[in-house]
Amino acid sequence: MAKPMLSESGSSAPPETIPVTLTVNGQERQLRVAPWTTLLDLLREELDLTGTKKGCDHGQCGACTVIVDGKRINSCLALAVQKDGAHVTTIEGLSTGSLHPVQAAFVEHDAFQCGYCTPGQIMSAVALIEEGRARSRDEIREHMSGNICRCGAYSNIVDAVEDVLKNKGSSFREAAE
């Protein structure tokens, strides 16, 4: 009975849940969501994907970064209903058996302290590499600037991202083997 909400306007029916289809980490999910549910809350509260973190809930920290239809966004400012039909990748969807090269580089370079910002940092770095616009350390810093690290692990984060960027071919091949 939630159908009328989708295209009918001016109805005074009380707000109800809306059917939404999302492909999350490769798996299609048919869901019903209240329109005020953010993608972040849907992932964490409904789908038990708590790897994606809530830092500020206002777009100011990047802890909630996920990749939607190939682009990194802040899931705390995205309404889940608006993403109907989208493909979402979270930190849980990165590794296929072994660690994703970016995850492995974060471990190797000790690119965290408390780890709270780390899933967001890693999702952002994966997208940064895919975008292919950052090369120098200055550029890496600028393209990672949407992810705040309260512990200040920035220099090791840049090291990790730079390492993957430079050795992208080989480590991605290794990961695939």
Binding site: M5, L6, S7, E8, S9, G10, S11, A13, P15, I18, A34, P35, W36, T38, D57, H58, G59, G62, T65, K71, R72, I73, N74, L77, A78, L79, V81, Q82, S124, A127, L128, E131, R133, S136, D138, E139, R141, E142, H143, S145, G146, N147, I148
Partner: protein
């Protein structure tokens, strides 16, 4: 966040009708400003009309120049080859703003209509004439470090926070809109407004009108330009002062100048007299200082933002020097040349 109903518009007409039919309805695009404000209860729409499925997501060339659809994400505009070839000022201003994640979600139309970052506007617990007309303006006597030095009124001293809009003001863009009474074009200088005695109105857009596109004029703005943004940290922070400049040069002489300031007023700030005075003058620091003096003669600072007057003066001189030399500010190497 308040409870609201959700309508997904399939056509522009449907979107306009949905807004006309429900006085509590609002458009939502990327949501990066509206959802944020809803979480603070500053915005409490009864219905959101989702416009993200409308066919307004393309950048197209047209007779008058380049047309940016209202739904084109900020990141897409910033990296578009044609934009970078002809309007690198706009690309630079976009890359100076927000973060890669936000620029992927934020849209051209939403960026135009983002609201002020005044702390009191965001805080439901305090009065604010913009949020609640007639309730007062605590910024005037409170913490006003980020507030306006130009064009404010005695009801509101907020600034417009957009970087994109400062570039669009300097480029003399035109905003195409459609509403219940049909379509119209709004020159960029007339799109945002000064607070006057209606600080609740940020723009001249009428209730129910939707932004369709932003049109850029068919001129070459690719040589002498800069976007210089000064802020509390080097990235992911709003401007304290910013300068968008485009010059046409005859050797070392300025043929025409367009200069817009961000972070200083309720709208991107232009001053025709100062721009006129630059015409035909040699591109020297003295010339630039003179223009800055004209612009800042009317500055009216408050307790915590007097520093912006000197900051703006130096930013204008530096920005015009960068533009004249053809050495625009880099948005990754943060050193200011």
């Amino acid at each position: 966040m308040n409870r609201f109903e959700y309508t997904r518009a399939g056509t522009v007409q449907e979107a306009v009708q949905a807004l006309a039919a429900d006085p509590a309805a609002r458009f939502i695009a990327g949501g990066t400003n509206l959802v944020d404000l809803m979480k603070y209860n500053v915005e409490r729409p009864g219905r959101l009309v989702d416009i993200t499925r409308l066919p307004l997501d393309e950048i197209v060339q047209h007779a008058g120049g380049l047309r940016l659809g209202a739904l084109v994400p900020n990141a897409t505009v910033a990296y578009d080859p044609l934009v970078n070839e002809r309007y690198p000022l706009l690309a630079s201003a976009l890359l100076a703003g927000a973060s890669p994640q936000l620029r992927n979600a934020a849209t051209t139309g939403g960026n135009l209509l983002q609201r002020t970052r005044c702390y009191y506007f965001y805080d439901e617990g305090t009065p604010c004439n913009k949020r609640e007309p007639g309730s007062g303006c605590p910024a005037m006597t409170g913490v006003n470090r980020i507030h306006a030095i130009l064009g404010a009124s005695d009801t509101c001293i907020a600034t417009h926070p957009s970087d994109m809009c400062v570039a669009l003001a300097a480029l003399d863009a035109v905003v195409q809109v459609e509403g219940p009474d049909g379509r119209r074009s709004i020159p960029f200088a007339e799109f945002h407004r000064l607070p006057g005695d209606e600080p609740q109105r940020d723009t001249t857009l009428q209730r129910g009108e939707i932004v369709l596109s932003v049109d850029l004029p068919d001129e070459d703005f690719s040589t002498h330009y800069t976007y210089l943004k000064l802020r509390d940290r080097l990235s992911y922070a709003f401007a304290l002062v910013s300068v968008a400049a485009v010059l046409e040069m005859d050797g070392d002489t300025i043929r025409t100048a367009r200069l817009a300031l961000g972070g200083v007023a309720h709208k991107p700030w232009r001053n025709a007299e100062a721009e006129g005075r630059l015409q035909g003058k040699p591109a020297t620091p003295e010339t630039f200082r003179e223009a800055a003096d004209v612009i800042l003669a009317e500055a009216r600072p408050y307790a915590h933002n007097a520093f912006k007057v000197e900051l703006a003066r130096r930013a204008i001189v530096r920005g015009l020097s960068q533009a004249a030399a053809g050495t625009p500010q880099s948005q990754t190497d943060k050193r200011i040349a």
